[in-house]
Amino acid sequence: MALATQPSPAADRTAADHAPGATSLLEPAALQRISRMELMASQVMDGYVQGLHRSPHVGFALDFAQHRPYVAGDDVRRIDWRVFAKADRYYIKQYEVSTNLRCQIVLDASASMAYRGPNDPLSKFRFAQFVAAALAYVVLHQQDAAGLVTFDSRVRAFVPARSTPSQLMRLLRTIDETPAERESGIGPILHEVAERIDRRGMVVVISDLFEDAGKLTEAVHHLRHKRHEVILLQVMSDDELTFPFRTWSEFENLEQAGDKMKLDPAQVRAGYLDAVAKHQKALTDGMAKLNVSHLLLNTSKPFDAALATYLARRAGRK
């Protein structure tokens, strides 16, 4: 998978942060851990679903596509007994229309995502890129359709969900080529995404969610109204969660040049943490009401472990 190396986002500050290409987004070790999971859709999907995705349309005639090995959780009724008789192994028959999960990954590429704390291995955006790539890989690997939306204050790229083999490369290239810049406006973007996705499916939002919790909830509500399953993956730096600064500092807004605040961090720390906590609580409460998964990812921890944990939790809930 030789992809052209793209310049890294302007705000990403170290060489380690700069991916040499799209393939660097898929580290073998991380993929190995994640790909053991199947992305489970907890809702009944629209369309024809086979295999993992339960469908009300059982017994509908389908075009055979391929066999694949049986894994725990598959409906035993779908085991191809003929193959079993020949090969003494369990195989599932798969058909063309079994790729019915349509996962749209919405990646925040605003300048605020470019933050990288002194102790963070990756910037928030690089972290988000890895998460998006991993998700795309997993979704496509299980023959489902994956799409991508990158945005700042407007939609920067919109790749419709597909399950074709070339889709992964396209998604990875788009993810990797996207720099983190400009202001974010996640609320309007989600409204727009809700309007532009015609078939219901899964929408995974990867962002720091620095947006008014009310507006955000409203936007997510719109998506839910369109009967999408929504997963909010909130990426935050450890610094943003603990505010460890001690000396007098001048905080410069990453999204707005010239917006600076000179203050004593010790004085505002308590208030800051209070504001973060309130925001998070409002988000969590709002998302819980909408039955939306909200996962906070800390950039100081490995993204694959976080994702694997989440997927395992989803599998358990099924």
Binding site: A114, L254, Q256, M261, A270, G271
Partner: protein
């Protein structure tokens, strides 16, 4: 309101300290570092939310910190609240009282009638009886009550329950040469009886006293008390020497730095106890033993001066001479008018060698007993062993049977030997020297042990015997004397080469011996030289004026340390004296002989000859006998004993006049042992005994501190200086019956406010701590960030 530390510099420092928080705050603001930041929405929200409340808290905190510093500066400035009615603390606060009791020698004087002497009298013990004396045995009401007794009686008034409050404390210091503390811890009123008993049992003082030193010690003691008011009472006879008026350094050290117009923390009151006026007083002093070298059973004279130092005539009395504590002579002293003096002379022969204590005492019942005696010690010499190597004795064998036969064997050296064997002033007395004669070629000469002799006389020899050539320098360096007498037998090689080769003396020699046509008078160039001083001091024995010389060796000494006490009128040295080494060894060269018959000079025929020979011999033996001189020390002057390195002394025990003993360890320096003892402030006889029984005891006499005899009391001018507003070392004088004025409630004119302020400071500090905690808590927030507030933890 006033301040004990109210200088301008202090307030400048204080203002700087108070402005410190503001400065730190401003400086702290200046340094910022840029941080690119994403979560500005939360930052903006927190700043808006907390701005107002923080502002108030921070201002409050800043004010509290400023107040703490200002209060600290104020407190360290030691504010003093003055004024009677408005001062709630001045009413009847308990007092820590330091009592300085003058225990100097002058307090042995009789007290004036009614000077508070209701306690036991006495104090009549003489110097030597100090240990057994004391005032404890005297009957109350004795008319011979001393100043010290009166002082103790004044202190005893403090035991009056009406005078002291239950929480008052008393500390007592005796003003002696160095202050002596009777009560290491402040004594409460109820336990004062024991302290008074201890005071009464003190033997009378013998040393000088320093009031400022004692006040300084008392100030340290009252500082240990818990009461806020501190008072020091100085009960003394007001002797000027003890009080050291006009000595600002001593008094500043005593009472601390005083600031004009500021009430001192510790106030000092003078409680004078007057000595009896008009009482006669005799003082014995200037005790001396002559001659300088005293031999066994040889006549010696003990002289002392008796002075009437009182204001009245002293009637006739007896004076006694005590040797080693036993009375050996007595004579009467006629009545002495005011300021008159008389020299007493006791003739006495000491029957045994070594050290003897000598004391002259007058039996006077006068104002001060301690100066009625004077003490010294006399060292009685055993005979000095002298080896005479005589060039005129050539051919004669060393006669083991003694001097008599040797004298028969030759004629020329008779003069020298005779002079050595007998002081011409008293020809029938036992000799001071024990002479061994030897010829140059004597076969027994090499076997002689030079160290057995105090000095070696090399008389008119042609050349140094080979056996002596290499020995004489070491012999002289170890503290012995070598005496070369040049004569007609002497060869030039001895004078020019051998003396230099032996490193004893370097001389330039003229080609020929100098000769005068007519006798040349001898020029005494150094009348104070030890060999000649006696002749200058005693005109009766001064025969030096008649000395003449006709012929002599014309030499010039080249050694820088060589002295020429005697020379011819033409300038040629007749006597050259040079010290050798550091142990008192020396070499003396006479450039003209003593044989009388040679016609070189007239010396053996003059009266001064025998004394001159003897004194020269003693001078040369000074290293051998170093440290054995007659001893009369002044108070405080250290006693020093030196002796040969053998036998080694482990310790020496000093018995003081009051019977107390102390041990001193000898130092060994240049092969001699040195014992030094500095605590000689008590007058009287000091006895030095050694752990080696072969060393006889040595006595020293220490005189009284003459300053204590000074009758001068503090003048009005002195008292005005002590109480001057500039420093106020002493508040004022109080009568012993008026102590309440110092201790009662009315005395407190100013009270330090530090206890109150310290409480306030503590309260401010607590408030500051609380505020800091409050602000810090708000500033820092939860320890773990948002994860700790119960929200879904970041993964």
């Amino acid at each position: 309101m006033s301040f004990l530390m109210g200088s301008l510099a202090w307030w400048v420092v204080g203002a700087a300290a108070v402005s410190l928080p503001v400065l730190i705050h401003l400086l702290h603001r200046q340094k910022t570092r840029p941080v690119p930041w994403a979560a500005m929405m939360f930052l903006r929200a927190s700043v808006l939310q907390q701005k107002h409340r923080k502002k108030v808290d921070n201002w409050l905190l800043m004010l509290l910190r400023l107040a703490v510093l200002a209060l600290l500066v104020f407190l360290l400035g030691r504010p003093l609240l003055s004024g009677g009615i408005t001062n709630p603390l001045a009413s009847d606060a308990p007092v820590d009282i330091g009592v300085v009791v003058d225990h100097s020698l002058s307090t042995r004087r009789l007290a004036a009638d009614g000077a508070g002497a209701t306690g036991p009298g006495g104090g009549a013990a003489l110097i030597g009886d100090a240990a057994s004396g004391g005032s404890a045995g005297s009957a109350p009401g004795d008319s011979r009550a001393t100043v010290y007794d009166a002082a103790v009686a004044a202190v005893a008034r403090l035991a009056d329950p009406a005078l002291l409050r239950p929480s008052d404390t008393v500390s007592v210091v005796l003003a002696e040469h160095s202050p002596r503390v009777l009560t290491p811890l402040p004594v409460p009123r109820d336990a004062l009886g024991g302290t008074l008993d201890a005071l009464r049992k003190q033997p009378p003082g013998l040393s000088a006293g320093s009031i400022p030193d004692a006040v300084r010690r008392a100030r340290e003691l009252v500082g240990r008390g818990r009461n806020t008011r501190k008072v020091i009472l100085v009960v003394s006879d007001g002797q000027r020497a003890d009080w050291q008026p006009k000595d600002a350094a001593a008094w500043t050290a005593a009472v601390g730095q005083r600031v004009k117009g500021v009430e001192s923390a510790v106030r000092v009151y003078d409680v004078p106890v007057a000595p009896a006026a008009g009482k006669p007083n005799l003082t014995v002093g200037d005790l001396g033993v002559s001659p300088a070298v005293v031999g066994v059973n040889r006549p010696a004279a003990v002289t002392a001066t008796v002075v009437n130092t009182g204001p009245a005539e002293v009637p006739a009395t007896d004076a006694r001479l005590l040797v080693d504590g036993r009375e050996v002579a007595r004579q009467s002293v006629a009545a002495l008018p005011v300021a008159a003096s008389r020299t007493l002379r006791f003739d006495h022969s000491f029957a045994s060698a070594n050290s003897h204590a000598v004391e002259v005492r007058v039996d006077a019942r006068d104002a001060l007993d301690a100066d009625d005696a004077a003490a010294a010690s006399a060292y009685v010499w055993p005979a000095l062993p002298v080896l005479v190597i005589d060039g005129q004795l050539s051919g004669a064998a060393l006669d083991a049977s003694g001097t008599e036969s040797a004298l028969r064997a030759f004629r020329r050296s008779r003069y020298l030997t005779t002079a050595l064997l007998s002081d011409a002033a008293a020809a029938d007395t036992p000799p001071l020297a024990k002479v061994t004669l030897a010829g140059v070629a004597d076969p027994k000469l090499p076997a002689l042990e030079l160290d057995d002799y105090a000095l070696v006389v090399v008389n008119d020899v042609p050349a140094l015997p080979a056996v002596l050539q290499n020995k004489l320098l070491d012999y002289a360096k170890s503290g012995h004397g070598v005496w070369f007498i040049l004569g007609r037998n002497t060869e030039r090689g001895l004078v020019r080469d051998q003396l230099a080769a032996a490193n004893l003396m370097h001389l330039d020699v003229a080609d020929q011996q100098a000769a005068a046509e007519s006798p040349v008078l001898v020029d005494v160039r150094e009348p104070q030289h030890p060999t000649l001083a006696g002749f200058a001091a005693d005109p009766a024995r001064n025969g030096l004026a008649g000395l003449t010389a006709l012929k002599w060796w014309s030499v010039k000494p080249r050694d820088a340390d060589a002295r020429v006490p005697l020379a011819t009128a033409t300038g040629d040295p007749l006597m050259i004296d040079r010290p050798i080494g550091s142990n008192g060894g020396r070499v003396v060269v006479w450039t003209t002989p003593v044989d009388g018959a040679s016609g070189w000079n007239n010396w053996p025929t003059v009266r001064a000859f025998a004394p001159l020979v003897n004194v020269t011999a003693y001078h040369l033996a000074a290293g051998w006998t170093k440290g054995q001189e007659n001893r009369r020390l002044d108070s405080g002057q250290p006693l020093v004993w030196t002796g040969p390195a053998d036998p080694p002394v482990a310790w020496a025990e000093v018995t003081r006049p009051d019977g107390t003993k102390a041990r001193a360890r000898p130092l060994v320096r240049d092969a001699r042992q040195i014992v030094r003892f500095s605590d000689t402030y008590l007058p009287g006889r000091y006895e030095l005994r050694f752990d080696r029984s072969e060393l006889p005891p040595v006595y020293y006499g220490v005189g009284i501190d003459r300053r204590e005899l000074d009758e001068a009391a503090l003048t009005d001018d002195d008292r005005a200086w002590l109480a001057a507003d500039d420093h106020k070392y002493v508040e004022r004088s109080l009568a012993p019956t008026d102590l309440a004025a110092a201790l009662g409630g009315g005395g407190g004119k100013g009270v330090e406010l530090w206890p109150l302020l310290a409480g306030g400071l503590l309260a401010f500090l607590l408030a500051e701590t609380f505020m800091t905690w409050r602000v810090m808590r708000r500033q820092v927030g939860p320890a773990g960030g948002v994860g700790a507030v119960g929200l879904p933890a970041a993964v």
